[in-house]
Symmetry: C2
């Protein structure tokens, strides 16, 4: 990719991220992003058609990082043996999220949080579905999946709202405590 594109793209992301720290997504205008990023009007629209697409791109960036281990371990199928249980995996995800703390706090602010959570849950749902067969709960499978993804996403939100003061391990522990999957280890087969 052209260095110039990368540069402006980064500038836009940074500007957006910075604005999210002080304003709600819905109240941020394209104009402000342009001003903050210090780029030309037409340049912005050359990169993103809408504000929503910018947010989506940002989330995708983040998740591709956060879930990168997931994808790798899925591909190499080497997560069956050692300490790759569900709880450890959740800790892992939280660790990655902590790396992006600054962005997270902003993105999760109110309205944009809705979109973020939506995308986040999609990733989570896919992950949890691998454990579904182990779960013995008398409810529809899609409800269980919805619940697990949703409540873990909520856990992350709680964690961030509390300035990530707990360690990822503690947080993952709490989630397991409160979840109906307490018995699941994910270390089967």
């Amino acid at each position: 990719m052209d260095r110039r594109q990368q540069k402006t793209r980064d500038a836009i992301f940074r500007a957006f991220s910075s604005l999210l720290e002080t304003k709600r997504y819905g109240n941020i205008t394209v104009q402000e992003i342009i001003d903050e990023a210090n780029i030309g009007r037409s340049t912005f629209y050359a990169h993103f058609d809408t504000k929503d697409e910018l947010l989506k791109a940002m989330c995708t960036n983040l998740f591709s990082h956060v879930f990168s281990d997931e994808l790798i371990s899925e591909k190499t199928h080497d997560f069956s043996g050692t300490n790759n249980g569900l709880e450890a995996r959740l800790s892992h995800i939280l660790h990655h999220l902590k790396d992006s703390e600054k962005d997270m706090v902003g993105i999760l602010s109110c309205e944009s949080g809705e979109l973020f959570m939506k995308y986040f849950k999609e990733y989570l749902s896919e992950m949890f579905s691998r454990y579904l067969s182990e779960i013995k709960v008398n409810a529809p499978a899609d409800f269980i999946l919805y619940h697990l993804s949703g409540s873990f996403a909520e856990t992350v939100k709680w964690w961030i709202d509390h300035k990530m003061k707990c360690t990822p391990e503690e947080t993952a522990r709490y989630y397991m405590e409160v979840s109906c999957i307490a018995g699941i280890t994910g270390t089967d087969e």
Copy 2:
């Protein structure tokens, strides 16, 4: 309250609700609400300073209805005896929500859902706090509360996304199944 006020207020609510059926909250303009409600520009601003306040007012309306039994039973303290357990209470809330199905679907659409959920969880959190002492889970109390409110709100969302095809009772049952409060009855004392 002046009949005229009530009339325009209703018109605004109806217009807003109707718009939410086809558009996302963030993409709805005040202008559209004005046109749909067929009122004067200044009239809208005489009622609501911002779009957010309109949404908030709508949510408050809804919840005061949905949680009305809650408040009554709390006041009269007569929910200790018979079938007033937690599960029954949750069913009750779902029943009330079903009455407002049309509004719900709209409000929950994406961005506005975030605000709706926020307000909803505040009510739920207050309700769940009454059961907190009974819950034996090794995690911070505020986390548990956050989790219970959040996951029940998510349950409602799931329910609505599925066109409320399950009965409120089934839905409440699923929630209890999947929740860490399965043992709680709420019929103590």
